[in-house]
């Protein structure tokens, strides 16, 4: 590259100096001949002399320019090999600028989105570093420059009139930009085109590199500025955050924000700077778990900590932290801790309330069972007289029969003794002791007594069954029809003079549940039906119909009476606790309420009532064939068991 420039320099020197010296010597020779041969100064000599002087002046000036050019080339050669590229590059451009007396030197490159990025390099002013994106595609501009055989002189129009040389820059066959130089007037130095072209061509890689450096420098400065700005903003944000932010480096607190100081009850950051963070932990071992998670995941999310305030008070914090690692080693931790003391207190309050509710619930269940039992006993109490009467009747004729049988036994004993005497005719004796009659009467008496005992046994069994308690979910199953029969047995004395009971009981599969409790429900409904019919003081007995039918998921039981019915205004209240239409002291108002609880909640069934005023009431009980572990089923729309 340097040798090429040397050649160029020699050619240019020959072109300039040799004709100029020859011309000057010729004029001097003419002048010498004229003056020394003729001793006269001819008038024509004056312009010749002037011309020779001018020629001399031009020669001197050209030589001076040449010296400058030489200096420039030398500087350029130095520049190419120097390490301080940027500084030298600026020097060279500066030299170019002054040497060519240019108005401006500008470097262009491909910028964002292939638009031309121009960077005014000279003159040195504020704008030196101001990159500007032209709204012009790069390629057409470059093609224009290339089509002018790398160098073209362009008269600029518009505001900036003048001349510009645009030298395309190529590097490794790639169009990388251009360096243009502008003058207010056309440059007069003839050799500048080739000089400038070669300079730019030689400098292309360096110019490009410098241009890129400039851009990078701008980017770096912008980045530094942006970084400073972001850092300031971030620190301002960190300082104003409502949550505690702590930076920990080498196991010591490096920074804590104001919220952190407030959270931990400190007034000055100095009190905590340099302190080991685990000293703030109520359980210092938590630090190990935190470090383990940080090392494993690089970050920690929602790590709960029990922290110590300055006054020793305990506070809960929720820490999220990231670790800063250097060669796999944890160097720094940046953590944000939210004060969750209030949240934890509220959560513990809810937990305590849940536990308390659970306790109350268990107590209520016990109370409910007690109430059911008490209501059962109350019902038994109400029925006690009737039950006693029911037992007393068979007991009466059992007693009478027993007396008769005893009498017959005594009579037979006497007959046997009398038969020992052979003097007395046996026929007469048999007649005397009414043997034949007794022979017919005794089996009847035994049969009647047996029936009476059976009747009493049935009543007692019903009572026992009624009062027995079984565990519903884990308990066995029972036959609803049998349960109805037992309830009828208990209630029979209350009903037999008031109403006729018609049963239509279909064979049913056994259902899970407490027979005693369901019996209590049926008994309640039967007693209520009997009392309702009785309240009408009618001449003829009423009618109670009991029917059962199996369905797909439930067994259905209907108990209907032809009593006065339930007035519409109280129909919604009959299952309420302590609601009763009976006179004071006649009812507790809990019978139907407990019945509802037994069927709906304990047996996951359904208890419904329909009534037409003046025509009677109808209670429908649906009991599930299978239990679903305490989940109450929705109301069955069509179970196939409606009757």
């Amino acid at each position: 590259m340097a040798s090429k420039q040397e050649n160029w320099k020699r050619v240019d020197a020959f072109q300039i100096l040799v004709p100029a010296i020859f011309e000057f010597l010729l004029i001097l020779f003419i002048l010498f001949i004229s003056l020394f041969r003729d001793h006269v100064l001819y008038p024509w000599m004056i312009p010749v002399f002037c011309f020779a002087s001018l020629l001399l002046f031009l020669m001197v000036w050209k030589i001076r320019l040449f010296e400058k050019e030489k200096e420039f080339i030398l500087t350029l050669q130095n520049f190419i090999n120097t390490e301080e590229e940027q500084k030298v590059f600026i020097d060279i451009l500066s030299y170019l600028y002054s040497f060519f007396k240019a108005k401006r030197i500008r470097l262009c490159s491909v910028g964002i989105r292939d638009k031309v990025l121009s960077l005014s390099v000279f003159p040195f002013e504020e704008e030196i570093l101001s990159a500007q994106i032209w709204n012009q595609e790069w390629e057409p501009l470059f093609e224009t420059a290339r089509s002018h055989r790398k160098i073209f002189l362009k008269k600029r129009k518009g505001m900036e009139k003048g001349y510009t040389i645009l030298i395309p820059m190529q590097y490794k066959g790639k169009n990388i930009g251009s360096l243009d130089i502008s003058w207010p007037r056309a440059p007069i130095f003839k050799g500048f085109r080739s000089l400038y072209s070669d300079v730019v061509k030689s400098l292309s890689p360096l110019l490009y590199s410098n241009f890129v450096n400039q851009q990078l420098r701008i980017s770096r400065e912008d980045y530094r500025e942006a970084y400073r700005y972001t850092e300031e903003k971030l620190m301002s944000l960190v300082a104003q955050m409502n949550d505690m932010i702590v930076f920990v480096g080498e196991g010591k607190i490096n920074y804590i924000n104001k919220a952190g100081l407030n959270f931990l009850g400190y007034s000055e950051a100095q009190e905590l700077l340099g302190v080991e963070p685990e000293l703030l932990y109520f359980f210092p071992d938590d630090r190990q778990e935190l470090l383990r998670q940080l090392k494993h995941n690089g970050q920690v999310k929602n790590f709960e900590l029990l922290l110590k305030k300055k006054n020793g008070e305990k506070v809960f914090g929720l820490l999220s932290a990231v670790g800063v690692f250097d060669k796999g080693e944890l160097k720094e931790i940046v953590g944000i801790t939210k004060d969750i003391t209030e949240r934890m207190e509220n959560e513990s309050k809810i937990m305590k309330m849940n536990l308390e509710l659970s306790r109350i619930n268990r107590k209520m269940k016990k109370t409910s069972l007690l109430m059911i039992q008490q209501e059962k006993l109350a019902a038994m109490g109400q029925l006690a007289a009737g039950i006693a009467h029911e037992i007393n009747t068979p007991l009466g004729y059992i007693k009478s029969n027993m007396n008769t049988l005893l009498k017959y036994c005594s009579s037979r004993a006497k007959l046997i003794q009398a038969l020992v005497d052979p003097s007395v005719s046996p026929e007469r004796l048999l007649e005397k002791y009414d043997y034949q009659y007794q022979e017919e009467e005794i089996p009847v008496l035994f049969e009647e007594t047996g029936e009476g005992i059976e009747r009493i046994s049935k009543i007692i069994n019903s009572l026992l069954s009624f009062s027995r308690r079984e565990q519903v979910p884990s308990g066995g199953s029972f036959d609803l029809n049998k349960c109805i029969e037992e309830s009828l047995t208990i209630a029979w004395n209350e009903l037999k003079y008031i109403a006729e009971v018609k049963k239509d009981l279909t064979d049913l599969p056994k259902i899970p549940g407490d027979k005693g409790e369901i019996g209590q429900v049926i008994l309640n409904i039967l007693i209520n039906a009997g009392q309702a019919i009785k309240s009408q003081n009618r001449k003829n007995p009423g009618l109670i119909r009991i029917s059962t039918k199996p369905g797909k998921k439930y067994v259905h039981c209907r108990i209907c009476d032809d009593g006065p019915g339930i007035p519409k205004e109280i129909r919604m209240k009959i299952f309420d606790a302590f609601f009763t239409t009976k006179p004071k002291g006649a009812g507790t108002g809990l019978g139907l309420s407990i019945s509802y609880d037994i069927v709906e909640k304990k047996h996951e069934g359904h208890l419904r009532v329909t009534s037409e005023e003046g025509k009677g009431a109808c209670f429908k009980i649906l009991l599930p064939l299978e239990r679903s572990s305490g989940i109450v089923k929705k109301k069955p729309k069509d179970d196939g068991g409606s009757s």
Binding site: F283, E289, R292, E347, S348, M351, K352
Partner: protein, 132 residues
């Protein structure tokens, strides 16, 4: 020899920072033993609750003992899981004991005012389960 049934196989998370073993001890007094180890946060708490509830009925009405002796860290979710299990056992009429409870967990429970709801055992193998 104490007859033991593992239900289900012991669990260990990927990091190895949490373990859960549930054992049914058949010899008298029969008991269901849940042994927890390591760090208990939200996902672990969920697993403890679910796994315990799953097997709770398998020992009948026998006491449930949760051994916390190997727990290094427990979050409020973990405490919540213990409470949920407590509520569940109460509902089922069973008794829950917490065994080998560290000072850390005790302090957490007392700070939250929940200590009184639990029954504690020094040793999960204790023969007389009367720690209430």
């Amino acid at each position: 020899m104490d007859k033991e049934i593992l239900l289900p196989p012991p669990y260990k998370n990927d990091e190895g920072s949490f373990t859960l073993t549930i054992t049914l001890k058949e010899s008298e007094p029969k008991r269901l033993l849940v042994t927890i180890g390591g760090s208990v946060s939200s996902p672990e708490a969920k697993r403890i609750y679910e796994e315990t509830i799953k097997v709770l009925g398998q020992g009948g009405k026998c006491p449930l003992i949760i051994d916390l002796g190997l727990v290094s860290y427990i979050s409020s979710s973990g405490i919540g899981a213990l409470l949920e299990i407590l509520l569940y056992t109460q509902k089922k009429g069973q008794v829950l004991y917490l065994a080998r409870v560290s000072d850390r967990i005790r302090t957490l429970l007392s700070t939250l005012g929940l200590e009184a709801f639990f029954s504690f055992l020094e040793n999960p193998e204790e023969r007389s389960l009367n720690g209430q």
